[in-house]
């Protein structure tokens, strides 16, 4: 995952053992050498085989890489990322036009490796020809609303490389935090970050780390709205006088920069001159979304400026601001990227529009000749089912049919977005992975690769492969449950957690008053967005052979028995107290499932009162409780449908 364009299995297998070594016969390139070294270490980690790079080798070359060109110093939009990979029993051969392509081929190889029948590891023989469908395949990470330390960023870059994502869109400022050290304007990070910011050396470190993995870094500094953290240090940039402090609540804020003040552009000129060189990529994101017009409307000086300059409304005022900003960026050799709202006829054609509003809006931008990337439908913080994201295509809007091929090519790809209201450094990996792998496939693989069952099966496998990249989407699960269990054995909590699914922003925003100071240490934070266990039970309930029935029976029994143990665990511990009714519900679901299995096995008609009760209960469990969804109800519902037939 992503599925290659062409993959033809062949006969035999290549053995992976401690004699594994790689030779590069093409262009000599330090970045490629580093990638090969990482690949070998990764293979060692993934298989547990001690492949020591420093050990004198017997001479078997298992993988030969032929990379034609070095390419640009930094990953570049639109570069040739194709590769071919042939795995055969006597060795594997990877060919690519560029270092980026070679790295993609290595990532593919990583996913071919699995245990063999003889107790070792192997890569099955195969012929692969592969290239991406879209050149812009991104992940946006919000480091503002919750702080994301460098190590979190780095491990996610590693995982991105695993699934061939090539743009790291770094949301570095918002109302709740300004996260970059500015030497010219030190009050930005001093007053705007609670001391949690990236030093300039950190930025350089991350950019170099991303470059080594073929990933472009596009920074976002969101202006003129979403700027309360800037205004904490520099209230003079604001429309209203302030004072301001770092935002700690969620939602759209009123404070906004004053685009009518010439000092603002002087400030931004200095800011870009300092910050732009930290990011070698030519694209620079200025946000531009969700600007509240209230302060502009209420300001006499802003209104006077608008009249004086014949600015017809506040949207036009923002366009004026964007034009000014665009010129400043141009001075620094940057191309402006922004959210939907920046689109305006006064802006030059080379800007890139990122659409959070819908597939339609990216198609419309393309029709006007702009380039666009799609993010609507890829909001990871909504914790939608992966199948929903997977079904959203950057070219999915009907309007695309009317585009010229050139205009269609202006739809560069898309980005999965990880907004950070409800995630922190501990939980963010489990909200990104493995689901972003399916979105990565949407950006890379042919549009015809779209079967959700195949996607889920492969995503579960790739979830395990991603463990070895360093992301903690799986490994942070148990410690979080241990914390909730307060030192007691967490098994009853795990049984519960495996049966529920975390809800996203839509539910959480209305569940209680959240701020950046509310701990994300609850059940909903530990629980995964989608339950692998429940998916396997749904498949079993649909198929219902003898093994399936046995599996369901065993799992339902476990649920039925679990409540007594859970209640003991939750004694005197307030953290899991909210789960007491859910645990009862799970046990009731288990008991109901067992009865349904009996009725089905014995071909009996279920009693009317049982049917009535289950109809009511299963309907009730359509709605989340404690900010988690009753995944466990789904397989029971499937049986119930069978029963009612």
């Amino acid at each position: 995952m992503p599925m290659p364009v062409k993959a033809e299995p062949a006969a035999g297998k290549l053995t992976i053992d401690d004699s594994f070594s790689v030779t590069s016969t093409g262009v000599a390139d330090p970045r490629l050498n580093a990638a090969i070294n990482r690949f070998v270490l990764r293979l060692a980690r993934q298989t547990g085989i001690p492949i020591l790079p420093g050990r004198p080798q017997a001479g078997r070359v298992a993988l030969t890489i032929d990379c034609a060109t070095r390419g640009a110093e930094f990953p570049t939009l639109g570069e040739d990322e194709s590769y071919t990979l042939d795995v055969a029993p006597e060795g594997a051969r990877l060919k690519s036009a560029s270092v980026a392509g070679a790295m993609h081929g290595l990532a593919t190889f990583t996913q071919l490796v699995g245990p063999s029948a003889d107790g070792g590891f192997q890569a099955a023989a195969i012929h692969i020809e592969d290239a991406p469908r879209f050149p812009w395949r991104g992940l946006m990470l919000d480091s503002s609303r919750h702080w994301m330390p460098v190590e979190v960023v780095k491990r996610n870059l590693d995982a991105m490389a695993d699934v061939k994502l090539n743009v790291f869109h770094w949301h570095l400022s918002d109302d709740q935090g300004f996260r970059v050290e500015s030497r010219r304007y030190p009050k930005l990070h001093m007053e705007g970050s609670d001391g949690l910011y990236y030093a300039q050396a950190d930025i350089q470190d991350v950019v170099a780390y991303a470059r080594d993995r073929g990933i472009r870094v596009v920074p976002e500094f969101d202006i003129p709205g979403h700027t309360q953290s800037w205004l904490a240090g520099y209230p003079e940039l604001a429309t209203n006088p302030g004072p301001y402090t770092i935002g700690r609540t969620w939602g759209i804020y009123f404070p906004v920069m004053d685009p009518t003040k010439e000092e603002l552009y002087t400030f931004l000129d200095g800011f870009f001159a300092e910050i732009a060189p930290l990011f070698p990529d030519p694209y620079f994101h200025i946000g531009g979304d969700e600007v509240k017009e209230d302060q502009w409307k209420a300001s006499a000086s802003v209104q006077a400026f608008m009249r004086a300059h014949q600015v017809k409304d506040e949207h036009a005022l923002q366009a004026y601001f964007n034009q000014r900003v665009q010129k400043l960026l141009e001075k620094n050799h940057k191309v402006m990227v922004g959210w939907d709202e920046i689109l305006h006829p006064d802006l030059p054609m080379n800007i890139v529009v990122q659409s959070w509003r819908g597939q339609k809006s990216v198609a419309e931008a393309a029709a006007k000749g702009y380039r666009g990337i799609l993010s609507w439908g890829y909001y990871l913080d909504h914790l939608s089912p992966t199948s929903f994201h997977y079904n959203v295509d950057p070219l999915g809007d009907d309007g695309v049919k009317k585009l010229t091929p050139e205009q269609t090519a202006g739809i560069l790809g898309g980005e999965a977005c990880m907004w950070a209201e409800y995630v922190n450094a501990e939980t963010v990996d489990s909200r990104i992975w493995p689901r972003a792998a399916a979105i990565a496939e949407r950006f890379w693989s042919p549009r015809s690769t779209s079967d959700p069952d195949s996607m889920y099966a492969r995503m579960e496998a790739v979830s395990r492969v991603l463990e070895w990249s360093g992301v903690r989407h799986r490994s942070n699960y148990a410690p979080m449950l241990d914390r909730l269990a307060g030192g007691r054995p967490a098994e009853p909590l795990r049984v519960l957690a495996d049966a529920f699914e975390a809800q996203g922003l839509g539910v959480r925003a209305h569940a209680q008053k959240y701020t950046s100071m509310v701990p994300l240490n609850r059940f909903v934070d530990a629980v995964r967005p989608e339950s692998e266990l429940v998916r396997s039970m749904e498949l079993a309930a649909k198929r219902m052979n003898a093994a399936d029935a046995a599996l369901l029976r065993s799992q339902f029994s476990k649920w039925a028995e679990n409540d007594a143990r859970f209640q003991a665990l939750a004694q005197d511990n307030g953290l899991p107290a909210e789960l007491k009714p859910l645990s009862k519900d799970l046990s009731a679901l288990g008991a109901a499932g067992l009865r349904m299995l009996d009725y089905i096995a014995q071909n009996q008609v279920a009693p009317a009162d049982f049917v009535a009760e289950q109809t009511r209960e299963l309907a009730r469990m359509q709605r989340p409780a404690a900010e988690v969804g009753y995944a466990a109800a789904r397989p029971v519902r499937l049986l119930f449908e069978k029963l009612k037939k």
Copy 2:
């Protein structure tokens, strides 16, 4: 854990929330400040509460630290490590004579924190007075036989600090690897390490990291035996001419330095002059164990030297060598430490003898006026039950009764030893932790703290606390099972793994031919040395109230059902193939346990053939298979005993 000398619970609790802050009223010290900062971050990690050090605080001081003196620049043997800690609802107060004591108090505080009834976290009110029983409380880590990267060392230092261990004994060279960069003799690390060695900057980094945590670093360079990795680069130091390569097999090697060559001492003089300054602690370990005399006996020149200098035997020759080495160390202001074998009347009284041979030998050394530390009984690589280690006391030998108080004080403490034949960077944490916490308690707490049930209960709790120090003894379990499962859901493997216990060196050394190139990625490497699940079942089988019977029934059913699923998982995958008979055995144990529960519940006499079969089967399962022990048989055995009565 370790249990404090005096702990008196008081009324009420101190709330831990995001306003938590610490003030230091005593001596100003950067090391203390760093420790406080780490403590606050740790508290945030452990609870999931966003306690931001950089956020302007409302002013509540939850913990006041009064530390009287800064102490020496580096942790020092015998410094005052005592502290008192008072936790009360209005705040906590920590008093100590030294920074080391303050850090111990913070570690204790960490363990007092748990969930409260209202959904937050708290520390229960308590009065603690505490000080260690022994001044030398160590953990030895072998970085030679398998390579241990710096991050592995660091996270283990963090865990050591959690349980108040204060000596990191770093085994840096052995036949299988020389792990330190030597600029003067670069062939040591170039020819002796497969490229896996600590740069001098790494060493300095680790030493500083340890110092910050109150931990002394005592390096060990094992000479004159265990030196094949030295001889790979410098064969001229050897008794026999060589050539030599890095050792890859386990066991005692024949190659040994030639103590009769004057060039050897020139070499060592240069070596110590370069290496000794990297380690500020005055103690320096020269190993000295397991010297094979064969090469000395066979060498005409060595024998001629012995005759010429009236060296009466090979043990005396090693003593001659040690005397020479001791003088070189003295020149570098180092006190010599070595294993049992260095003890010889010709050596000065200030040396320290580390005993791997037994409690008796440390008592004997003390009787002769030497100082000693005990390691016999604390060999973690044996994977003995923790209760065994816990029961071994440094003053446990009868000979101690005859010592003067001064001689007794010469028994400085002990060290847990993690030899690395059968562990690597991935598995080592789970072999050290949580078991070393019980050994740490033996070194710290009063000898009367000795109840194994209490120890096990507290160790299981501390195992979870240690998660937040960064060691991966728990979190590496699931990925290793995932690897074994080859991408399939690992649950049936987890059921199996929870029911078995890994065997140590004693079993593994005879199970198959191991070398440093054999992957440690098998079931035995993933499985833990002691099963928490089985312990809880043993307790249940002993108590046997209604809830206990239900728990056992549920677990036995799970085992009974598991084999079918396990066999499906193991299809076409050679890695878990060796477990197929074990899985059948586990299911049979489950079925037998269920029958026993029925007989007991119904007060029936079990049929003779069943008794005969179980007698035979349970006896068979006394012996390990696939290098793991049948932990699951223990609770069944307990029921069987009940049944036979």
